[in-house]
C-alpha cells in the first residue's frame, strides 16, 4: 500500500544530532539539582523543536528528533527496561567511558519508552514522514554484561520481544518509519546468523516501514544476509567513511538503501558536488527508486554548525542529481512500508 509520495532520493538523518550548548548546560544544572524536572523537560522539548527545524531548513525530507533526550543509545533503553543494573563506567578507548549495563534479572517491558518522543517529534515537524530510531536487541545485548540469561542468544531473544512491543506501541500511536540501530551486528561473525532471525522477530507484524542501520561494520559479513531480513525494507549504511569504495558489492541489493554520503567522523564539510558524485556512483548499482540519502551515522560528535552545514551540503548534492533524474522521468518515489 502506498500512502505517500516522496521526492526522488528522499533525504533523511540517522538519528543523533549535537545538543545545543544551552541544553548541555541545562542538563548539567539538572544533575546538580539546580533546576526542576519540568524545566529540563521544557528544555528537551525546546531543543527538539530547534533541531527538527534546523534539519527542515537544511532541506531534509525525513527529520528525526536528534535523540536530544538520550545520553547514549544503549543506556537510554537499559535505564527503562526492567532487569538492568549499572555498576559504573567502563572505558571504551582512551579516556572515553561508557556506562555499560548488566543484565541481572529477567528483563521486562516497562511500557512505552519512545512513544512520547515520537509524538512530540510528530507535533513539531512539518514533514509528512518522520523517523524514529530505536536501538536493536543485538546491540543492547552486545554492549551489556549478561549475568542472568544462559546464553547471549537467549538474552537477545528476550530483548527482541521487548523491542517488538515497543514497535507496536509506536505504530499504535501513528509512527510510520522506524529505524532499528544495530552497529554491533557483525562484531561476532559466528553470531550473525541467529542475530538476523532475531532482528526479523523484533520487527515481526509491525505495520510501518522498518529500516536497519548498521555502521562501521564488516559489510562482507552483512551483505550475504540481506535477502533474509524479511521484515526490513531499508538498510541505512555508511559509505562516506569508506571513501565510497566497494560500491560494486551493492549489485543486486534487494532492499532500499539509505546511502551514507556524509562522513560524521570528519569535520571537513563535503561539497555538494562530492555528494552528487557519490550518488551517481551508487546509482550504477542501485535503482534511484530504491535510494534514500543520509549521513553515514548520527551527527552528534560534530560541532553543531558543522553538522548543519553537512546536512545543507547533502541536500544540495541531492538537488543536483534530482535535476538529472527529472530528465529520466524520475521525479518521485512511493513511501513503501515493505520491500
Amino acid at each position: 500500500m502506498v500512502d505517500y509520495i516522496l521526492p526522488a532520493l528522499p533525504t533523511s538523518v540517522i538519528g543523533s544530532y549535537p545538543r545545543p550548548a544551552w541544553l548541555r548546560r541545562m542538563i548539567k544544572y539538572y544533575r546538580m539539582g539546580r533546576i526542576s524536572e519540568d524545566a529540563i523537560q521544557e528544555a528537551y522539548d525546546d531543543a527538539v523543536t530547534t533541531i527538527v527545524r534546523e534539519q527542515e531548513l537544511a532541506g531534509v525530507d525525513i527529520p528525526a528528533d536528534g535523540e536530544q533526550r538520550r545520553d547514549e543509545m544503549v543506556e537510554y533503553f537499559a535505564h527503562q527496561i526492567k532487569g538492568f543494573k549499572f555498576y559504573g563506567p567502563v572505558r571504551v578507548w582512551g579516556n572515553n567511558y561508557f556506562n555499560k549495563p548488566a543484565v541481572v534479572d529477567k528483563l521486562e517491558y516497562p511500557g512505552p519508552m519512545t512513544v512520547e518522543e515520537y509524538l512530540f517529534l510528530r507535533q513539531v515537524s512539518t514533514r509528512p514522514i518522520v523517523k524514529v530510531t530505536i536501538t536493536g536487541p543485538y546491540t543492547i545485548a552486545d554492549w551489556s554484561f549478561n549475568e542472568y540469561y544462559p546464553s547471549k542468544e537467549d538474552l537477545v531473544k528476550e530483548l527482541s520481544n521487548i523491542i517488538n512491543q515497543e514497535l507496536h506501541a509506536l505504530v499504535d500511536h501513528g509512527a510510520q518509519f522506524i529505524q532499528i540501530d544495530e552497529p554491533a551486528l557483525t562484531t561476532h561473525p559466528e553470531e550473525v546468523e541467529w542475530a538476523v532471525d532475531l532482528i526479523n522477530r523484533t520487527a515481526k507484524g509491525i505495520d510501518a516501514k522498518i529500516g536497519l542501520h548498521v555502521c562501521y561494520s564488516n559489510y562482507d559479513l552483512l551483505f550475504p544476509y540481506i535477502d533474509e531480513f524479511t521484515e526490513i525494507s531499508q538498510f541505512a549504511l555508511e559509505f562516506a567513511n569508506r571513501g565510497f569504495n566497494d560500491l560494486h558489492k551493492l549489485k543486486g541489493f534487494s532492499k532500499e538503501l539509505g546511502f551514507g554520503v556524509i562522513d560524521v567522523h570528519n569535520r571537513r564539510v563535503e561539497s555538494p558536488e562530492e555528494v552528487a558524485l557519490a550518488i551517481r556512483k551508487a546509482m550504477k548499482y542501485v535503482e534511484p527508486e530504491m535510494l534514500y540519502i543520509n549521513p553515514d551515522c548520527g551527527l552528534k560528535l560534530q560541532p553543531r554548525n558543522v553538522a548543519k552545514k553537512k546536512l545543507e551540503s547533502m541536500v544540495r548534492g541531492v538537488l543536483m542529481v534530482r535535476e538529472e533524474l527529472v530528465k529520466r522521468g524520475v521525479r518521485s518515489i512511493p513511501f513503501r512500508k515493505r520491500v
Binding site: V90, W93, Y97, K100, W143, T187
Partner: protein, 323 residues
C-alpha cells in the same frame, strides 16, 4: 602445588584519573601536579586490590591500551588509528610500521611506568609483591600492525624483529630493575598460528620462567605452542574461554611448570563461585609445581567496583585451593 594470585594487565582507570590525563594533555596540569595525581589515584585504587594479590602490575594506569603509548618507545613505529581489540567493544591504537623497528635507547614511556612502580613499591601495602609490566607480545604486535615499509614482507619477519630488537632489549632493561615482563599474546591462537610461525618468532626470546610471563587469552591456542613455550617461560591460559584445556593438560604442559590459570572472567560482571573454581583448578594439582590464579584478561573491561570484587575472589580461590 603452590598457589599465587595475580593481577593481569590493567585495573580500571578511575574517572578522576582520566580527567587528570585529559588536563595534562591540554597543558592545564603541570608535570608535578600530574604525578601527584597519578600516584594518589593508583595507590588509592590498587591499595584495596593489592592485599589479595601476590603479583601486581602497574595497573596500566599510564596506558590507553596495550599498544599506546608503549609503541612510542619503538623506532620505526608511528601511532595509528583506533581499531577494535578482538571482539570487544574496546578500541586500541594500532602500530604503523614505517621502517626497521628497534627499542629506543631511552624508552620514556616504559621509564614512566617503572617510576610509578618504584613509587608504589615503597608503600608498605605493596611490600613483598612482585611487579609485572604488561607489554604486547610479538604475534599480537604483528597482528595489529599496518606495515608501510619494504623492510618487512610479512608478519613473521616483523614479529621476529620485535622479539630480537624490542622485547629482548626490554627484558634486559627491566631485569636489573626487578620487574617481570608480562607478555600479552592473545594472537597466539590456533588460527593465527597458520599465518605466522610462532616457533620461529619465539625461538630467540630471552629470559625464563622467573622474569617472562606470556599470557594468552580469548582465542583457542595451539597446544604445541603452549607446550613448547611453557617449558621455557611462565604461561598464562584463558580457562574461561577455553575450558577444554583442563581435559588433557598433558597435551600442552611442558614439564616442570608454573602456569597462570585465567579462571576469572574479566569480561562479565557475574561473580564466579570460589568453591567451584577451586575444584576445577585442583585438576591441575599434580600436573604443575605452582599455579598463578588470575583473571583471563585485563580487568579493564569491568567497572571498577566489580574489578575489586573479582580481585577479592582470587584470594578466596587461593584459600580454598590450599585446603
Amino acid at each position: 602445588m603452590q598457589a599465587f594470585t595475580s593481577l593481569t594487565g590493567g585495573f580500571p582507570r578511575t574517572r578522576s584519573f582520566a580527567n587528570a590525563v585529559r588536563r595534562k594533555e591540554k597543558g592545564k596540569l603541570g608535570v608535578d601536579e600530574f604525578w601527584e595525581t597519578v600516584v594518589r589515584e593508583t595507590k588509592r585504587s590498587l591499595a584495596r586490590a593489592v592485599r589479595y594479590l601476590d603479583y601486581v602490575t602497574d595497573g596500566m594506569y599510564l596506558c590507553d591500551d596495550i599498544f599506546n603509548p608503549f609503541i612510542k618507545d619503538i623506532e620505526g613505529v608511528k601511532r595509528g588509528w583506533l581499531v577494535r581489540f578482538y571482539d570487544n567493544n574496546f578500541f586500541v591504537r594500532n602500530p604503523i610500521v614505517r621502517g626497521k623497528i628497534r627499542l629506543k635507547p631511552n624508552p620514556s614511556t616504559v621509564d614512566e611506568r617503572i617510576r610509578l612502580v618504584n613509587l608504589l613499591s615503597r608503600e608498605p601495602l605493596f611490600a613483598g609483591k612482585s611487579f609485572r609490566l604488561p607489554i604486547p607480545g610479538p604475534l599480537t604486535f604483528a597482528d595489529f600492525s599496518v606495515i608501510e615499509t619494504s623492510e618487512y614482507n610479512d608478519n613473521t619477519q616483523l614479529a621476529v624483529d620485535y622479539v630480537k630488537d624490542v622485547l629482548n632489549p626490554l627484558i634486559e632493561y627491566v631485569r636489573g630493575k626487578g620487574l617481570i615482563i608480562e607478555i600479552h599474546e592473545p594472537s597466539l591462537s590456533a588460527s593465527q598460528a597458520s599465518i605466522v610461525d610462532w616457533n620461529e618468532v619465539y625461538r630467540d626470546l630471552i629470559g625464563g620462567k622467573e622474569n617472562v610471563h606470556i599470557i594468552q587469552y580469548f582465542n583457542q591456542p595451539p597446544l604445541e605452542a603452549l607446550q613448547t613455550l611453557s617449558s621455557r617461560f611462565t604461561i598464562g591460559v584463558d580457562l574461561v574461554e577455553n575450558p577444554s584445556l583442563l581435559d588433557n593438560p598433558d597435551d600442552w604442559l611442558g614439564g616442570e611448570s608454573v602456569i597462570q590459570a585465567g579462571v576469572i572472567d574479566a569480561r562479565n560482571t557475574k561473580l564466579e563461585d570460589p568453591q567451584e573454581t577451586a575444584k576445577t583448578l585442583k585438576q591441575l594439582a599434580d600436573k604443575v609445581d605452582a599455579i598463578i590464579i588470575s583473571s583471563n584478561t585485563t580487568l579493564e573491561f569491568l567497572p571498577e567496583t566489580v574489578a575489586h570484587r573479582k580481585t577479592r575472589l582470587l584470594a578466596r580461590i587461593k584459600n580454598k585451593l590450599a585446603r
